[in-house]
């Protein structure tokens, strides 16, 4: 039986503020009968004005006052803070029910009366169990947005999980705010990090990838307010699963989402074959995140990105990837290191990929000398006849190469086959001879 009454606690503490331990002791010393007695509760409510606690030693004066003081609506903060300003104050279940008066006063809600949010408190003393504060009373728009989002479950995602202590909320433009742009990743990271709540729901731990990304770096190291934080792409209250066609992180919407900042690249992308296909409703095309990833955002100049980008293109352009892998460009490129060799997008462009027949394509025959010349200084008309996707196994497409390969293969197989047979026979014969000779000489080491 832990059904202690707020009023009882206060009345029992008529005197100096008590420690929590003392309060618990007194609570547990109460008999069930006392608690069950409604009459006693009534008596206590009338008998314990809140001011009494703050006037130690003036019990008599308090008794005089209580005759004058009628039960009055609790409205002003000061009334509530008389008890709740003790920041160590806990209810019987151990929840902190103290309010830092200073922080509350300077918070965005500092001008409100307690009863504005704790609407079910009409008078003092109030019942121990109060209704949950409904933020949507005022913040109806945000609440409505949240309802349709992935965070709709208000038990798992109360407003305070992102906005912090309800009594200390400051405007989001305030650097102390949990939803200040520079603080957002850390706030979301509470759940969306390794071993975070989100991972238990089968979602990836994205926070570590983000903080090491160029976005995360710009935000945390340089403090750039314009750097993309979680909500720049995902939104804030109305976060939708990327499977939802309305979501800004849905595949079809990603180029536009990234294009909010990267406008030039988005324009290039939509001029290219991939962007046009996406706009036409084809989802089997790469979008920004397919190559750059969503959170880690690899640097395109980094080895890791250069190495992994070609197989991404190759996952659709299989024949081109296969022939590319036969070339020196690929062979060296696979090994990583300091020298850069041509990847798909070095020749075909990364964002504005145009068909070869398009005069604006860098691999259009009219532009090849320029394109190849980016790396190969002195590239001429004959040089650009080199085929970066030649297939030495295709007799009709590349006859010269086909026969050269065939000749080289036959030369290799023929020479080796002959000499392997020759050498094995020789080995056997030489050993037999050696054994015989040594046997004839006395059999030592035969």
């Amino acid at each position: 039986m832990e059904k202690a009454l707020v009023g009882h606690s206060i009345s029992a503490a008529a005197g100096p503020p008590r420690s929590q331990a003392l309060a618990e002791k007194e609570d547990s010393s109460m008999t069930d009968a006392e608690i069950a007695t409604g009459a006693k509760r009534t008596r206590m409510f009338t008998a314990g004005p809140p001011r009494l606690r703050l006037l130690p030693g003036l019990v008599a004066a308090g008794l005089a006052l209580l005759l004058l003081a009628a039960p009055s609506p609790l409205a002003a903060q000061t009334d509530c803070l008389a008890c709740h300003s003790d920041t160590t104050l806990q209810d019987s279940a151990g929840h902190n029910i103290g309010v830092d008066a200073g922080k509350f006063g300077s918070s965005i809600h500092g001008g409100l009366k307690c009863g504005d949010c704790h609407a079910d408190i009409k008078e003092y003393p109030h019942p121990e169990h109060l209704k949950k504060v409904q933020c949507n009373t005022c913040h109806a728009d945000q609440a409505a947005q949240l309802t349709g989002s992935v965070h709709a479950d208000s038990k798992e995602h109360p407003c305070t999980s992102c906005h912090g202590n309800a009594h200390e909320i400051v405007p989001k433009s305030d650097p102390r705010s949990a939803v200040y742009p520079l603080n957002i990743p850390r706030t979301c990271g509470v759940c969306h990090s390794t071993n975070g709540m989100a991972q238990k729901h089968g979602l990836d731990s994205v926070y570590p990838s983000y903080v090491d990304s160029i976005h995360g770096y710009a935000l945390s190291k340089e403090g750039l307010l314009v750097a993309a934080n979680c909500q720049s792409c995902h939104g804030s209250h109305h976060i939708l699963s990327r499977k939802d066609p309305q979501s800004p992180t849905n595949k079809a919407n990603i180029p536009a989402t990234c294009g909010n900042c990267h406008a030039k690249i988005a324009a290039d992308y939509f001029n290219g074959v991939h962007g046009k296909a996406l706009a036409a409703g084809n989802k089997n095309v790469p979008v920004c995140s397919d190559c750059h990833t969503a959170h880690a955002i690899l640097q395109p100049t980094a080895d890791a990105f250069r190495s992994q980008s070609t197989p991404i293109c190759g996952s659709c352009h299989k024949d081109k990837f296969s022939t590319y892998r036969d070339t020196f460009h690929s062979q060296l490129g696979s090994l990583g290191g300091y020298v850069q060799t041509a990847r798909c997008w070095d020749c075909h462009d990364a964002h504005e990929v145009r068909p070869t027949a398009d005069p604006l394509s860098p691999v259009n025959s009219a532009n090849l000398i320029t394109t190849c010349g980016k790396c190969h200084i002195g590239a001429n008309k004959s040089f650009v006849q080199y085929q970066p996707h030649a297939n030495a196994h295709n007799r009709t497409l590349n006859p010269a190469l086909y026969f050269i390969r065939l000749f080289m293969n036959l030369l290799l197989v023929g020479t080796l086959t002959f000499f392997i047979i020759h050498t094995i026979l020789w080995l056997i014969r030489a050993r037999i001879d050696q054994v015989r000779k040594k046997a004839a000489q006395g059999g030592k080491n035969a």
């Binding site: 090994l335 990583g336 290191g337 004959s382 040089f383 085929q387 080289m408 290799l412 056997i428």
Partner: protein, 291 residues
Amino acid sequence: MPDQEHRNDQVVATGGEQSPPPRRFFKRFTPGQRYMHAVLFTTFLVLAATGLPMRFSESLWARGFAGLVGGFGTILFFHKFCALVLSLTFLIHVRDIFSRAFVHREKGVFWGYSSMVANWKDAKDLFGHMRWFVGLGPRPHFDRYAYWEKFDYWAVFWGMIVIGFSGYAMWFAPFFARFLPGWALNAALVIHSDEGLLAILFIFSIHFVNTHLRPGSFPMDMVIFTGVESEEEFEHKRPLEYQRLVREGKLEAKLGEAPGSWQLNFSRVVGFTAIFIGLTLLVLTLSAYFI
């Protein structure tokens, strides 16, 4: 057994009554030839070790090795560096041949028993040798250079030209494109890569076994390192040359010093290291095909 008798005659002829007779060593390779071989196999090993990861760039060991040494920048640097050294060595060798033949008017550079050029006897030796393998005839008597040694030489010679040209064509592609059609640049990689692979497989399996690992030479023929070989070995391996020298009374002119123990030890360390690296590369190459 005629060889054996012959040797005894020789011992008697040189007046050795005391036993055992001193072991004599005869010169086979000049210091220049030995250094050339050393440069050749050193650069070849590096070229193979850096070329194979490029050829098999998709395999794990290639990427692991590349990562270990610092990526293809390093690999390509050493490949090109050794290519230059080897090309230079090759050019020096070609210059030497021509100066011997045309400046010093040396006989037998292009023809004869001491020439590297193949002749009718080599063809006969090849068939005779193979008949001997299967027990159908006597072991042929070889002269200064046996047919498989000539093949090794010309394989390298041809390889130098083919691999060299195709390599430089890729290295200086825009320059070569002034004379060559575009598809030749495609062909250059196919040729370079296949011919290189053939050279690697041949050297690390056939040459190693024929020259070093076969009974009679096992575990290593030291003559290319020390320049000299024992009389016994000389007589057994190249009876025709030995007998000719005896007949013409020129054998003593070929007498060399017995290799010092430091020379043998050094040669063994270098030689076995080369063979170890070669066999490792051979296994890796084969693993790229079969695993």
